[in-house]
């Protein structure tokens, strides 16, 4: 066995975002030995950026809400290709998961009678998002972190996992390197939970943080697990577009929830022009009613700006393409106009949207209480991920679990805002619970010296290539070119020929990535880290592209210019990717599980 430090755990959790922390807390409650590794510092995972809130049918603001409504909203938002069982569990269990956060110290904004306040968000019928101003993710991650550190969990910070270790079919641990010193570490475990988050860094314009490189998706895929729904990448309609340095940075949907409106360069509120049929009944047909909705009028319907993200993003792209965009290629998002409606509007905006005020003021020289913001779509979230059992979160590889953004199923073709944070809690808990159960019922597997040696050797390869001699290229240019290409060819509006070009491009980028070299030594070396990230980024980019080529229809976040309509057959089909015996990516179609009658009824009743 290579002479690397070995850590023994019953359950190893990879990732310290909301999903990983919640899983760790639950696993440790089952009295098993838990290890948590993350490639960032504790409390700094991407979850910290979440702004708007956690969706849960607490019914604190509108008593008509309940799990049935939340379930129906989630399925409608996902265009009915969601895993119905996950959507059901999520809607039923989210309220208890949110209350639990309060018991661990979270301080949400309050209703006048002292309960957890909930706000409106796109696609949710009633005010449903528990929140803390616009920094809900920070509150959530800090609460879980501060609760978790007292539970005896072994935390390994700034350790990046490069390979899952297997004993036959089963996953029995992981190989990683510690970023600070560059040393390899072996983790031996009976069960492994992936909670590695998203893939935003495969695109040029993204709201995601540095660690969203699709590592979990790629690790699972290379270990034999299946990836599902990879064609569904969510582009959030409102990212900053100017200045270039902050292009892609998120502008929370909360701005529209508080009454913000979208207009084009002619000052027209274009969203009212194209309300999809299945949302007509619940969308305001005039601006006045929309305003009343944002101000809490229970009899008003939501304004067109709060339609689902996929739809709003496409309308924005249309405005820009047809020449009605703003100077820097976006549209206007205006909250300052509410001064016409309410007194002390500037104070109100600063209180409700403090980080947005700060972000625009500090980074864009824009005062949002006085001027409109320039916004455009940004790569935000991936609905696709590791295919898991809805109840246990285990993949088809025994001992390998996944939760949070790196798992697929709950969101179908499009995620509603707020449904991710609740997903992290509900399925993070389930993954932790079932991973602990699996660990208790299993014997420790064997880790293989050969696999570890090979994993370490291939991770170190970039050091053998001398960049200074000019024979090899550094990792950054390859990363930029990949991001640029995915943005251009597999973005919001997709076409067969462009995506086929992307596949060819990916093959060339793989070639380049295999020849990337780095300078310096192994101690905290970002060049080396980037070289290793490339393997994940390329794997997930290929998965997204292959699935997007195969789905010849438009549904939710996946929009094809050459197939602009929905197709009934595709509507009953899932696309599944798996690594073939020859090492090539294989795609197959599988029928979607049919919705049981009792849930069909729920959806009918909520129409």
């Amino acid at each position: 066995m290579p002479d690397y430090p070995t850590h023994e755990h019953d359950v190893l959790i990879i990732g310290s975002g909301g999903a990983g922390l919640r899983a760790a807390i639950e696993a440790s409650a089952a009295a098993v030995k838990v290890g948590l590794v993350c490639k960032c510092l504790l409390g700094k995972a991407h979850t910290v950026m979440a702004e708007g809130g956690i969706a849960a049918a607490l019914a604190n603001v509108d008593e008509r809400d309940g799990w049935q409504v939340h379930f129906a909203d989630t399925m409608r938002g996902g265009q009915y290709v969601n895993n119905w069982r996950m959507a059901e569990l999520h809607a039923k269990e989210a309220p208890a998961r949110v209350r639990e956060l309060e018991a661990w110290g979270a301080l949400f904004d309050r209703t006048p009678d002292g309960r957890i306040l909930q706000r409106n968000f796109g696609g949710h019928k009633y005010p449903r998002l528990a929140h803390v101003g616009d920094r809900t993710g920070l509150e959530m991650i800090r609460t879980l972190q501060d609760h978790g550190v007292h539970l005896g969990i072994d935390v390994h910070m700034e350790v990046a996992i490069v390979e899952l270790l297997k004993d036959g079919d089963r996953v029995v641990g992981a190989l990683g390197y510690d970023r600070e010193r560059g040393q390899f570490k072996i983790f031996h475990a009976k069960a492994v939970v992936l909670a590695t988050g998203g893939i935003g860094k495969s695109y040029k314009i993204t709201s995601n943080s540095w660690d969203c490189t699709g590592d979990g998706h790629a690790l699972a895929y290379h270990a034999g697990a299946e990836l599902l729904d990879m064609e569904y990448v969510q582009f959030h309609p409102t990212g900053m577009v100017w200045p270039p340095s902050v292009c892609g940075m998120l502008v929370t949907e909360g701005v529209r929830g508080e009454g913000g409106i979208l207009t084009n360069k002619d000052g027209k509120r274009f969203m009212f022009d194209s309300i999809p049929d299945n949302y007509k009944a619940q969308t305001a047909d005039n601006e006045e009613e929309g305003w009343r909705y944002t101000q809490g009028d229970r009899n008003a319907r939501r304004p067109a700006e709060l339609l689902t993200r996929d739809h709003v993003a496409r309308c924005i792209v249309r405005e820009i393409k047809e020449g009605r965009g703003t100077p820097h290629g976006g549209v206007w998002l205006d909250i300052s106009w509410i001064k016409k409606r309410i007194p002390n509007a500037a104070e109100h905006i600063k209180r409700k949207l403090p980080s947005m005020y700060h972000q625009f003021k500090q980074l864009g020289d824009v005062d949002i209480t006085r001027e409109p913001m320039e916004v455009g779509p940004t790569t935000h979230y991936i609905m696709g991920g590791v295919r898991v059992n809805a109840d246990t979160q285990m993949s088809c590889v025994p001992g390998l679990f996944a939760a949070g953004e790196c798992a697929a199923g709950i969101n179908g073709a499009n995620r509603l805002g707020g449904n991710s944070l609740s997903d992290l809690l509900v399925f993070g808990k389930r993954a932790g619970e079932h991973a602990a159960k699996f660990a208790k019922e299993s014997k420790a597997g064997q880790i293989s010296a050969a696999q570890i040696e090979e994993g370490a050797r291939s991770a170190l390869e970039p050091f053998d290539r001398n960049v200074s001699a000019g024979q090899f290229e550094g990792p950054y240019q390859v990363q930029y070119d990949l991001q640029e290409m995915m943005q251009r060819e597999v973005g919001i509006v997709r076409r067969q020929d462009e995506m086929e070009r992307a596949l060819e491009g990916l093959a060339k980028l793989w070639e380049r990535a295999r020849r990337v070299g780095v300078t310096g030594h192994r101690q905290f070396n970002p060049g080396w880290h980037t070289a290793l990230d490339l393997r994940s980024l390329l794997t997930v980019s290929e998965a997204v592209t292959r699935a997007a080529i195969e789905r010849k229809e438009s549904r939710g976040a996946h929009f094809r210019e050459d197939f602009p309509d929905k197709d009934a057959t595709f509507g009953k089909t899932s696309l599944i990717l798996r690594k073939g015996p020859d090492g090539a990516m294989q795609l197959r179609r599988e029928p979607l599980p049919a919705l049981p009658d009792h849930l069909k009824k729920v959806i009918e009743e909520m129409k």
Partner: protein, 250 residues
Amino acid sequence: MSTATFKIWRGDATGGNFVDYTAQVSEGMVVLDALHQIQATQANDLACRWNCKAGKCGSCSAEVNGMPKLTCMTRMSQLPLDKPVTIEPMKAFPLVKDLVTDVSWNFAVKKKIKPFKPRAPDAPDGSWRMAQADVDRVQEFRKCIECFLCQDVCHVLREHHKHDEFIGPRFLVYVAALEMHPLDTEDRRADLKQAHGIGLCNITKCCTKVCPENITITDNAIIPLKERVVDGFYDPLRWLLNSAKKTLKR
């Protein structure tokens, strides 16, 4: 587009020196963009931490022209570019490499602070009732992104290295958030005085000045905590009454 020159600290625990670099400056650029540009084009292995690039995670702390800053929120346009911009690691923590320091002490300190202990729920569904006004005060402290810039600037840690006796402003804010939490029933006053070393703070307010979240660390967190400690230790009767009140609230 103009160019800017930089002096960036390169080295590790065994030693190092400032190295000169240049970068192209475009509109709206922040210091972290310049670091990334230098990484991509001139120094692949230049070590710096970052994650969100949006001022939300507190990873990218460093000293820019001698001032503790989040590099992702420091605009190039705010800096004089006629002379080189110096970028160095935080001084209050051991150096790992280049701009990366070993901040693990902070995580160890937090673990030693008595955790949140809520009173029994107010409602049968396990939930509580709290007024927004009572929550506001604590929400200010909970804005903390753990960038540790306040720890970096505090002379008790930076110059006097009293890491074993003093938890630093970040964790005084953390204790304040717990102590003033409307539901909390724990008493941390004895710890504040002894283990946490609150007496070592002499209210210079340097920490408040650097906080990127604009938390009024000294006035709103540290001074009220100091008062509680004084009340508790020098006015035993009042302490007893307070403890009784806390118990009643349970």
